[in-house]
């Protein structure tokens, strides 16, 4: 049993890595925007708004991402709505992470002390000004640790998109392996690249956390 390694794998895997990073960035951004809206809807919305946002969160958190991806890509196509694999991947994963991020945001907003809102209102701020200038700046700092966990989760989860034909890091690895049958070596290299990326993200976000840190504003882990 001998292990082999070929340098020419790396440039190919590098292309896949770029797609993986792009996918992660796209879906996490969509998820952040939508998640924030959902969190606010669940906290401050009434009746239909609250109900819809809650149902959304329950559905996307309660069902497998793989199933969601196939619903978007093949399910919609079956009904005449054809999306490119890239678009399907971004949409499905963006919708998914939005549900999780919504819960983090909600928790963080609730962790901001009630007196903060009272003080803002007592100055004559409107509800939206209070949320925008007092609640969110604190909640976003509080949410960062949980949010970086979610980012790592999504980075890893993008590896399922090869199933709808996207040449991401995982997909490229699979293609190379299926030609030379060195499954173990190639997947080990792929695993190490993912690990390096996770490490990079973790440290980058810790740096950001330290930069925007405010004395006395604890983080909820």
């Amino acid at each position: 049993m001998e292990l082999i390694f070929r340098w020419e794998w790396l440039p190919q895997l590098g292309k896949g890595l770029v797609l993986t990073v792009e996918l992660t960035a796209a879906c996490i951004s969509i998820g952040a925007v939508l998640g924030l809206i959902l969190a606010i809807a669940r906290l401050y919305g009434r009746n239909v708004v609250y109900w819809l946002a809650s149902a959304y969160v329950q559905f996307f958190r309660g069902t497998p991402l793989l199933v969601q991806l196939f619903m978007v890509h093949f399910g919609l196509a079956g009904w005449g709505i054809r999306l490119s694999p890239l678009f399907s991947g971004i949409i499905a994963m963006g919708l998914n992470t939005a549900a999780y991020q919504a819960e983090y945001f909600r928790g963080a907003i609730q962790a901001v002390k009630r007196g903060q809102a009272l003080a803002a209102l007592s100055l004559g701020m409107t509800r939206w000004q209070t949320i925008r200038y007092v609640i969110l700046p604190q909640a976003l700092r509080l949410v960062l640790p949980a949010w970086s966990t979610e980012l790592v989760y999504m980075l890893k989860y993008t590896s399922i998109v090869y199933l709808i034909g996207l040449p991401d890091l995982m997909g490229i690895g699979r293609t190379i392996a299926s030609h030379n049958f060195r499954f173990f070596e190639i997947y080990a290299v792929v695993a190490l690249i993912y690990l390096a990326l996770v490490l990079l993200i973790t440290f980058a976000l810790r740096y950001v956390e330290a930069r925007i840190r405010v004395p006395g504003l604890g983080t909820v882990r």
Partner: protein
Amino acid sequence: MALLVVEDLHKRYGKEEVLRGVSFVLERGETKVIIGPSGTGKSTLLRCINRLTEPDRGRIWLNGVEVTSPRTNIYKIRAQIGFVFQDFNLFTHLTALDNVRLGLIRVKGMGKREATERAMRELERVGLGDKADAYPAQLSGGQQQRVSIARALAMDPKLILFDEPTSALDPELIGEVLQVMIELAEGGMTMLVVTHEMGFARSVADEIIFMEKGVIVEQGPPEVLFTNPRVPRTAEFLRKITEFYGESG
């Protein structure tokens, strides 16, 4: 016309009736102190005045404008009423300067430079010009409360409501906050103060309101209330609280 008129205010939380018909009047430049056992609706009363809590019944006028009318822009009203909280409620993510500036910029629409100058003046007025860049967590309780007073002052309020401003403070820090409040009263600010500091009440208040179980039991000038109250309950409460907290402060 009186600056603040409160008429027959009622508020209940579930089964508990916290305010049961409270009425009083506050003239310009006047300082009134509300005293009474805890849990008798004093804080609720203050919060009803700028409608941080919605009263169930009763009416309030500020400077002739009905605060309780649904047509009134409550945000404009709140900008004219300063509020100083028991636990300060400084914005945790902002420096002292930004705490004072936020309302000026976002509510009054003031330019950044003008707001900075104004905020610095208020911080200096409460003796904290050198702490402008400190975050709330880096300040002592007394300093935090002085910043929160500066925050209220910066808005040019017609009236400031103080909700037990010293009861979250260590005894040695109470004095600095009371000193600021005394200066305000002497400068002609209209103030409504809920407090247990009898020394302050006695020396600064134009009138004292004694509340119990959601109603005003007795009100009058401090000399009268402290020496010769009409109602026996008032005398009993004053005796107890003086024993408990002492007269100093």
